[in-house]
C-alpha cells in the first residue's frame, strides 16, 4: 500500500513532465528534447531565487516557471520557428543540442553534486496515514500535479482559447483568416510547455538533489511515457504517467534491479499491441 502511494508520487512527476511534452507535441509537432533541461533549469531557478534573492518556495513556484517560460518563448522565436513545416526530426535535433548546451553550462557553473533545496517549512514533517508515514511535501506534490494537469486539460479541451489552439494546429491559415494571431499562440504554447517543465522542476527541488543531470536522468523515461500514452494525447500522458509511476514502484519491491527498465518493457509491449499508444488516435 505504501509502495503504491510512492509510485503515485513519482507518477505525478512523470505526469507533469509528459503533460508539457504532450502539449508541445500535440499542438506544435515539436519533439521537445530540451524538456529535461527546462525541468532542470526550473529547479535551479528555484534554488537561485532562494539563495540569492531569498524568495521562498511558494513564490518560486510562480516566478521560476515564468522565467523559464520566457526562455522558452525566446527559444521558439529565435530558433524553433524556422523549423516549422520541416521534418520533426530537425526540431528534435535542435532541442537535443540545446539541452546538451544548457546542461553543460550548469555543470560548468555548479558541478554535478548539485545543491540542496530545503523542504518548505509549511510542508515539512510527515503524517502517519495508517499504512505508512507520508511526508507532507510528497502528498502536496501529488495534489499540485493533479490540479495542474486537470487545469491544462480543461484549458485545452473545454475553453475557447483551447479550441483556437487546436484549430490553429489543424489549419493555421484558415484560423489566421478569422483574425486569430496564430504565431503568437504557438509561441505562448511553447512558453507554457516550458513553464510546465519548470514547475515540475521546482516541485522536484526539495525532493531530490538539484543537479545539472536531473533532467537527462528523467527525460528518456518521460518520453517513454508520452509514447505509451500516445504522442500528443494530453489525457493519455497524464494517466500513463501516474500508472507507470505505480508500476515502477511495484517493480522496486519485487525485483528492484529491473526498476529502471520496466518502463521500457511496457513501452515495447504497448507499441507492439497498439502502435499509436494507449490513448493515441490511429492516423
Amino acid at each position: 500500500m505504501g509502495q503504491l502511494m510512492l509510485g503515485l508520487v513519482n507518477g505525478a512527476f512523470y505526469a507533469m513532465l509528459s503533460l508539457g511534452l504532450a502539449v508541445i507535441f500535440g499542438l506544435l509537432d515539436i519533439v521537445n528534447f530540451a524538456h529535461g533541461a527546462l525541468y532542470m533549469m526550473g529547479a535551479f531557478a528555484a534554488w537561485i531565487l532562494l539563495d540569492r534573492f531569498e524568495l521562498n518556495f511558494w513564490l518560486a513556484l510562480i516566478v521560476a516557471p515564468l522565467i523559464v517560460g520566457a526562455l522558452g518563448v525566446a527559444i521558439e522565436r529565435s530558433m524553433l520557428k524556422h523549423l516549422y513545416g520541416l521534418d520533426p526530426l530537425y526540431g528534435l535535433l535542435l532541442t537535443f543540442g540545446l539541452s546538451l548546451i544548457f546542461e553543460g553550462l550548469f555543470r560548468e557553473q555548479y558541478g554535478v553534486s548539485g545543491k540542496s533545496y530545503p523542504v518548505p517549512e509549511l510542508l515539512s514533517g510527515a503524517t502517519d496515514i495508517g499504512f505508512m508515514v507520508l511526508p507532507n511535501y510528497r502528498a502536496f506534490v501529488v495534489f499540485a500535479s493533479l490540479v495542474v494537469c486537470l487545469g491544462t486539460w480543461l484549458l485545452i479541451e473545454r475553453t475557447r482559447l483551447g479550441a483556437y489552439l487546436r484549430a490553429g494546429t489543424e489549419n493555421a491559415r484558415l484560423v489566421q483568416a478569422f483574425g486569430v494571431n496564430v504565431p503568437l499562440m504557438v509561441m505562448l504554447t511553447y512558453g507554457a510547455g516550458a513553464g510546465l517543465a519548470a514547475m515540475a522542476g521546482v516541485l522536484a527541488a526539495p525532493v531530490i538533489q538539484v543537479t545539472p543531470l536531473m533532467g537527462s536522468n528523467l527525460i528518456i523515461v518521460v518520453f517513454a511515457v508520452v509514447v505509451i500514452g500516445g504522442m500528443g494525447s494530453i489525457l493519455g500522458s497524464v494517466l500513463t504517467g501516474l500508472g507507470l509511476g505505480v508500476i515502477e514502484g511495484m517493480t522496486r519491491v519485487f525485483y528492484p534491479e529491473a526498476s529502471s527498465v520496466v518502463v521500457f518493457v511496457v513501452m515495447v509491449i504497448v507499441l507492439i499491441l497498439r502502435p499509436a499508444g494507449l490513448f493515441g488516435k490511429e492516423t
Partner: protein
C-alpha cells in the same frame, strides 16, 4: 644526385624516428580515464586531471630528459569505453602509465588491458577490492582506498558501538556489490547480523521505495553501499521519510563534496571512512589551499591521491631510468611513499598500504571555517585497514 641523397637521408631519418618513437624517446605519456561529466565528476573528474598536470609541472615537466604529457578521457561509467580508450592509447600513443578514476567496473576493465600491454596501472577512484584481490595483476596498484578498508574502518566502528543489525542499500554494479559483501563480512565477524539488502540501479531517480523496504526490515543500521549522487539522494530521502529517526544511516563511501552539497544540517554526526582530509596537517592544508584558490572548493581524497600517484610514478621512472613497465613496477613496489597524501608502501598484490581514517561530520556550530567539516575519530594503521596477506586471494601472493 645530391637531391637524391638528401631525400634518402631524410627517408632514413624519418624511418628511424618512427622506430625509436616506439621505444624510449619521445614524450612520456600518462593517461587518466575517469568520469568527467556524470555523477562522480565532482569527486574526481576534470579537477583530477588538473592534479595530475600539477604533479608533472611540479616535477619539472620532464623525466629522463623527455617531456611529460597528460592524456585524459571521459569513460561515462562504461567499462567498454574505458578499456577501448586505454588500448588505443597504449597501441598508438605509446602510453607509459594509466591512472584509473572513479567507478570500479571501468577500472577492472582497464586493469586487464594494462596487464596485457604490460603497463603500470594505478587505480585511484575505484573502490572494489577485487582489483588487488581475486582480479589482481602484476601491473595494478590500488592507491587510495578500497571497499575492504571502508568496511573495516567504518563498519567495525559502528558494530562495536552496538549497532548489530544491518540493512544494505546497494548500487547495482561492481563497486556496490564489493562494498556490500566486504561490509557484510565485517559486520558478521564483529558479531552483527545482516537482515537484508536492496539493490538500486546506478544513478537512480528516486529512493523512496527502496528506503521504505529498508524501514520495514527493522534493522538498526541502514548502510548505503553507493556513492556520489546516489548517496546524496538516498540520504535526503531518508531524512524526508523520517527513517533517520528509527534507523541510523551509515554512508560507507562519503566524500567531502557529498557532505558539502548535503549541508551539515543533513549530515551532522555521520561517521565515514576516508584516506585523506584536507585539514589533517600543514602539508595537506598547503595543497588544499592551492586547490581552493583555483576551484573555490576543497579537494577530495581522490584528487589528492591523483597528484600523489602521478608524482610518485615520475619518481619511480627517474629511479628506474626507463619507462619500461616491468622495471618501473619493480621500483613502485619497493620504494617508500612519503608525501602530504600518505606514508606507505605497495605490497606484492599491488595494494598500497597506508593509514586510513574514521571521521565524524561536525555540527554547524562546531564548524568554524568554510569546509571545516570533519573531526578525526580514529586513525587506523594500514595493516589493519586493508585486506591482510593471509586473507588475500591474489595469485601473486606466495603462501
Amino acid at each position: 644526385m645530391k637531391i637524391r641523397t638528401v631525400v634518402a637521408a631524410i627517408a632514413v631519418a624519418l624511418g628511424s624516428l618512427s622506430a625509436i618513437a616506439q621505444t624510449d624517446t619521445g614524450p612520456v605519456r600518462i593517461g587518466f580515464i575517469t568520469d568527467m561529466s556524470s555523477l562522480y565528476a565532482d569527486i574526481d573528474g576534470p579537477a583530477g586531471v588538473e592534479m595530475i598536470k600539477w604533479a608533472t609541472q611540479d616535477f619539472g615537466g620532464k623525466v629522463l630528459g623527455r617531456p611529460i604529457e597528460v592524456l585524459s578521457a571521459d569513460h561515462q561509467n562504461k567499462p567498454d569505453v574505458a578499456s577501448s580508450k586505454a588500448r588505443e592509447w597504449m597501441d598508438k600513443e605509446n602510453l607509459a602509465m594509466l591512472i584509473g578514476g572513479t567507478s570500479s567496473g571501468t577500472s577492472l576493465a582497464m586493469a586487464k588491458v594494462s596487464q596485457e600491454k604490460k603497463r603500470p596501472f594505478i587505480a585511484i577512484g575505484a573502490g572494489s577490492a577485487r582489483l588487488t584481490n581475486e582480479d589482481c595483476t602484476p601491473y595494478t596498484i590500488h592507491y587510495a582506498y578500497d571497499t575492504v578498508a571502508l568496511a573495516k574502518v567504518a563498519g567495525s566502528a559502528l558494530v562495536k558501538a552496538g549497532n548489530k543489525s544491518w540493512y544494505f542499500l546497494t548500487a547495482d554494479y561492481a563497486f556496490g556489490h564489493s562494498l556490500e559483501s566486504d561490509a557484510s563480512a565485517v559486520v558478521k565477524a564483529n558479531g552483527g547480523t545482516v537482515v537484508g539488502a536492496v539493490r538500486h540501479p546506478l544513478n537512480a531517480s528516486d529512493f523512496s521505495s527502496f528506503l521504505l523496504q529498508a524501514q520495514g526490515s527493522k534493522a538498526q543500521i541502514l548502510a548505503l553501499a553507493n556513492a556520489g549522487g546516489d548517496t546524496i539522494n538516498s540520504m535526503k530521502a531518508a531524512k524526508e521519510f523520517g527513517i533517520t529517526k528509527s534507523m541510523k544511516v551509515a554512508g560507507l563511501l562519503v566524500f567531502i563534496n557529498d557532505v558539502h552539497s548535503l549541508g551539515l544540517a543533513n549530515t551532522e554526526g555521520l561517521q565515514l571512512a576516508d584516506s585523506w582530509y584536507w585539514n589533517q596537517d600543514d602539508a595537506s592544508r598547503k595543497f588544499a589551499k592551492r586547490f581552493f584558490d583555483k576551484y573555490k572548493r576543497m579537494p577530495s581524497s581522490l584528487q589528492a591521491a591523483d597528484y600523489s600517484a602521478a608524482m610518485n610514478y615520475l619518481k619511480a621512472v627517474q629511479a628506474a631510468k626507463t619507462t619500461d613497465g616491468d622495471k618501473v613496477m619493480a621500483v613502485l613496489k619497493s620504494m617508500k611513499y612519503d608525501d602530504f597524501y600518505s606514508k606507505g608502501t605497495v605490497r606484492a598484490d599491488g595494494r598500497m598500504i597506508h593509514d586510513m581514517y574514521l571521521f565524524q561530520v561536525k555540527g554547524a556550530k562546531e564548524s568554524s571555517t568554510p569546509w571545516d567539516y570533519y573531526r578525526t575519530v580514529a586513525k587506523v594503521p594500514g595493516e589493519q585497514a586493508f585486506t591482510s596477506l593471509a586473507e588475500s586471494k591474489c595469485a601473486l601472493i606466495k603462501k
